[in-house]
Every structure is written in structure tokens, then in C-alpha cells.
């Protein structure tokens, strides 16, 4: 029992990281109708942006987080303007393939700039808290709280602001948004900015929890898409839910199968969702 609860704690932690990535990926899908394969590498580059801020300015990771989010948001908008915008009117599969290429380019850039070996934000050992039989690292609580703040921020943006509502409208009915006079290009730019910023946050949190590595984001791409599909693709609230479920499932699976198969669990859930309930778990909810 203790072991299950401990794994759940770890699962919620992984789940919040996945949720941040999945919200961005699902919003991009909702507005642009393509699976953005470079999303994991947005996470990685965001993590490395933070690393540079941490090492150059000697700042704590959490202070570097907003800088990394801003830089990645800018990068995402820039990549959209240079690469995706030109091919937006052709078939979505072309966009998907070009995002694959973008992913490879980003990963290679990371290796060229920051090197291909493992790196960490802070060296030294962080003493974990012991609460009864459970172990919790201070960083974990920090990650969870920061992720919660960001998710609430996204919620307020989507429900309270004009741009957020326009984004949901475009994701709901592209044609009607156009007829209504909603400026598609501006909404698309905001979608990339927010998707990029959230991916960066996910990357930084992942880096805090483990280590930085050029493929750190790429390896999480599958669980992230599993989360978006489980929550109903195009639905930000579904993606949060999906992220938490996939995160917990991946951690709990180590009770019965070796830890190396964790990504296979995400894949299995994704396949099962696609077969049994392709519209996602919470279709019909906002």
C-alpha cells in the first residue's frame, strides 16, 4: 500500500509534466489540425534555455523558468512564421512531416550548442522530506505547485480573455470563426506562444526532476500524445486529465512490469483509447 501511494505521488509529478506538454500539443491540434511532432523538442530546448540562464546569471531554476518560457514562446512563433505558415494551406500530413523535420533540427541544434552529455541545473544532493513512510523531494512539491499555477493560468486565459475565447472558437469551428471575423493569424500566433511556453515549463520541470539531455523531450512525445488522445484531442481540460492518468499509469505499472517498459504503458493506453473510445474520455465536456 505504501508503495502504491509513493508511486502515485511520483505519477502525479510525471503527470503534471505530461499535462503541460499535452495542453500545448492539444491546443495546437485544435487550432491547426495537425499533430506537432516537435513538441517534445520544444520541451528540451526550453529546459536548455533555462540551463543557460541558470549558469550564466547564476539564478535559481524557478527564476529562470519565465525567461525560458518567453524564449521558447518566441522560438515557437518564429518557427511557425518561417516553416509552418507557408504550408498551412496544404494537407495536414505535410505539416506533420515538416514538424518531424523541425524536431530533428531542434535536437541537433541542442547537441551543437549545449553538447550531448547529461547535464543538471544544480549539483549536490537534495535531502528529501520524509512524511511518515513517504518520500517527497522539495523540488517535487515545487514542480507540482508551479504546474498547478500554470494550468490555472491557462484555464483563466481560455475562459476569461477575448483571445482565449477566440482560440476555443477556432478550435471548435474554424469556418465559423473565419465568418465571424476572428483574425486567424493572430489566434494562431498566440496558440504557438502559449504552446511553446507551456512546453518549456514542462521541459524545465523534467530537467529539475531528472537531468537534461538532448532527447529528453523526444522520449516524452509518445506519452504526451497518449495524454492528448486519452483526453479527447483538441480539448485542453482533457489533456490535463489525460496527462495525470498516463503519468500515474506509467509509474504504477512498475509494480508489475520492469520500469523500462513505462513508455509501452502509455502506448498501450493510447492504442486502447483509439480502439475503444477514439473521441477521448471526456468528450462533450468543455
Amino acid at each position: 500500500m505504501v508503495e502504491v501511494i509513493q508511486l502515485l505521488i511520483n505519477g502525479i509529478l510525471l503527470g503534471s509534466i505530461l499535462a503541460l506538454g499535452a495542453v500545448g500539443a492539444t491546443m495546437i491540434f485544435g487550432v491547426l489540425r495537425f499533430a506537432h511532432f516537435a513538441h517534445g523538442d520544444f520541451m528540451a530546448i526550453g529546459a536548455y534555455f533555462a540551463l543557460t540562464v541558470v549558469t550564466v546569471f547564476n539564478m535559481p531554476v524557478l527564476a529562470a523558468l519565465p525567461v525560458a518560457m518567453l524564449l521558447t514562446a518566441g522560438l515557437a512563433v518564429g518557427i511557425d512564421q518561417v516553416v509552418y505558415k507557408r504550408i498551412r494551406r496544404v494537407q495536414p500530413v505535410i505539416l506533420l512531416i515538416s514538424s518531424f523535420a523541425t524536431a530533428l533540427i531542434l535536437r541537433s541544434l541542442i547537441q551543437m550548442i549545449w553538447g550531448s552529455s547529461n547535464q543538471v541545473y544544480e549539483t549536490g544532493i537534495q535531502l528529501p522530506w520524509r512524511i511518515g513512510p513517504f518520500v517527497l523531494k522539495p523540488d517535487h512539491l515545487l514542480i507540482f505547485c508551479a504546474a498547478a499555477v500554470l494550468v490555472i493560468g491557462v484555464h483563466l486565459f481560455l475562459t476569461r480573455t477575448r483571445m482565449g475565447k477566440a482560440m476555443r472558437a477556432m478550435s471548435d469551428n474554424m469556418n465559423l470563426a473565419l465568418i465571424t471575423g476572428i483574425p486567424a493569424d493572430r489566434v494562431i500566433m498566440w496558440t504557438w506562444a502559449i504552446g511553446g511556453a507551456l512546453a518549456a515549463a514542462a521541459g524545465v520541470f523534467l530537467g529539475m526532476d531528472t537531468r537534461l539531455h538532448p532527447v529528453m523531450g523526444w522520449t516524452l512525445l509518445l506519452p504526451i500524445f497518449a495524454a492528448t488522445i486519452l483526453g479527447g484531442i483538441g480539448r485542453p481540460y482533457g489533456a490535463i486529465f489525460g496527462g495525470l492518468v498516463i503519468g500515474c499509469a506509467m509509474e504504477l505499472s512498475t509494480l508489475v512490469i520492469p520500469g523500462a517498459y513505462k513508455p509501452a504503458v502509455a502506448f498501450a493506453i493510447m492504442v486502447a483509447t483509439l480502439i475503444l473510445r477514439p473521441q477521448g474520455i471526456i468528450k462533450g465536456a468543455t
Partner: protein, 247 residues
């Protein structure tokens, strides 16, 4: 609003909307072949005709959703041919498509607010105006539009369009899929909207009811104008009756 209308009265030759000799279609195939349309301010104009006549295409072409190859669209004296929809909205033209004309996962209120997205200023007054026409929408403003009945969704769609304070309201088959009682109610509402001084151009399958309230009507067939007359005169025309109104 009032001085504008007086000015238009001073120049009777300037129509609210005029489409002259439109040739338009998809992928190089013309669906409209020299279609002419005219809507005067304060008028209800109905387009009827058989399936595939180009009724919906004519509406889309006017609103800039289907490229016009030849011909021109003039709105209150300005040429607006092939302008993008957001320009149409800011000029005061609103368009309600036939299908999927609401944002299903958004609330009624959000649907209406987004209707005025292209406009500056406060929405409060505009909302009250729409709620005055459709009191039902005020009651259900927090309801998700996607789970509402067909008739209510149609109200949301028209309300969304009215949020831009349009001079011209374009409706593509507003009664499609509604029950007979709701058809009458919807047509009544359209007449009510028109009484506020809003010109209405609509495509309608239920030609009889629509022509009864229309000031003028067009009969379109294979992208060409076949007949143009007042609503009652078209209803009385035996040829029109036989062709399009089911005897």
C-alpha cells in the same frame, strides 16, 4: 443610424447591396453564371430555386468565401468584391451559414461575444439588443450551445450575427431541419429583425413561408436569374409555383 438611413433615402439609386453579373465557383468550375442580386435597405430579399442552383454559392461569393472570377459586389456604394470576411463584418454585413453555425463547446454568451470580436467597444448594449429579440437566449446564456435544440441553436446563430450591428444580415437556409412550428417562428423573428431597419438577404427552402414575408424574391436556376419579383407576385406566378414550390 437614423441620419444614415435618411441619407440613403436621399439617394434612391444607391442600394444597400448590389451584385452584378457574378461568375464564381470552386476549382475553376463556375456555379454562378452571371447572377445579379440587389437588396435595398430595410428589405427582405429571398433567393429560392432548385438544388444546385447556386443559392448558397451566391451568398458565399457575396461574403467573400467563394472567389468571384467576374462581376462585382457593391455595398452602399463601395466595391467589396472578394474582400475577406473580417472586412465584411466591420462594414456591417453579417452572415449565418446553413450548417454548424454555432461554436458548440462555448456558452451562448461566449458565442454572442465572439460575434462582436471584430468590433471595438463595449458589448453590453449589443447583448441587450440581441436579448430583446431573443429573450430565450438571455435565460439560457450559460448553456453550452452544442447541447441546445435546433431551434435554439438557430437563435444563437442569428444572435451571433446580430452582434455586429449589421446593416445587412445574410441567412443561408435559416429554417433547415426545423419543425413546422419553429419554421413559422423563425420567419417571424426574421421579419422582426428586419423591422429594426436591417436588410435581410436569405436563401430559403421553405419558399412559401419565406416569400410571404419577403419584399422581393429571386428565383435562381443553374446559376442564372430566372425570375425576379415581389414575394406575393412570385407566389402567384404559375410557372414559379410549378417549378419550385411544389405546385
Amino acid at each position: 443610424m437614423a441620419p444614415g438611413r435618411a441619407a440613403r433615402r436621399g439617394q434612391p439609386e444607391m442600394s444597400l447591396l448590389q451584385a452584378n453579373g457574378l461568375y464564381a465557383g470552386y476549382g475553376g468550375v463556375d456555379i454562378l453564371r452571371g447572377t445579379n442580386l440587389r437588396v435595398e435597405a430595410d428589405e427582405i430579399v429571398v433567393i429560392v430555386g432548385p438544388n444546385g442552383a447556386g443559392k448558397s454559392t451566391a451568398m458565399k461569393a457575396v461574403f467573400g468565401l467563394v472567389p468571384i472570377r467576374e462581376g462585382e459586389v457593391i455595398y452602399r456604394g463601395d466595391v467589396i468584391t472578394n474582400q475577406p470576411p473580417e472586412k465584411m463584418v466591420t462594414r456591417g454585413i453579417a452572415y449565418v451559414p446553413q450548417e454548424s453555425n454555432v461554436f458548440p463547446s462555448l456558452s451562448v454568451l461566449e458565442n454572442l461575444e465572439l460575434g462582436a470580436y471584430a468590433l471595438k467597444g463595449d458589448n453590453h448594449e449589443r447583448l441587450e439588443k440581441v436579448f430583446a429579440i431573443f429573450p430565450r437566449l438571455k435565460e439560457r446564456r450559460h448553456q453550452q450551445a452544442g447541447v441546445m435544440s435546433g431551434g435554439e441553436r438557430q437563435m444563437v446563430a442569428m444572435g451571433r450575427a446580430l452582434m455586429v450591428d449589421p446593416q445587412l444580415l445574410m441567412l443561408d437556409e435559416p429554417t433547415a431541419g426545423l419543425s413546422p412550428r419553429l419554421i413559422d417562428e423563425t420567419i417571424e423573428r426574421i421579419a422582426e429583425v428586419n423591422k429594426l431597419g436591417i436588410g435581410v438577404l436569405m436563401v430559403e427552402q421553405n419558399a412559401r413561408q419565406a416569400l410571404a414575408v419577403a419584399h422581393r424574391g429571386y428565383v435562381l436556376a443553374t446559376g442564372e436569374n430566372r425570375h425576379e419579383d415581389t414575394g406575393p407576385a412570385l407566389l402567384a406566378n404559375p410557372e414559379v409555383a410549378e417549378m419550385f414550390l411544389g405546385g
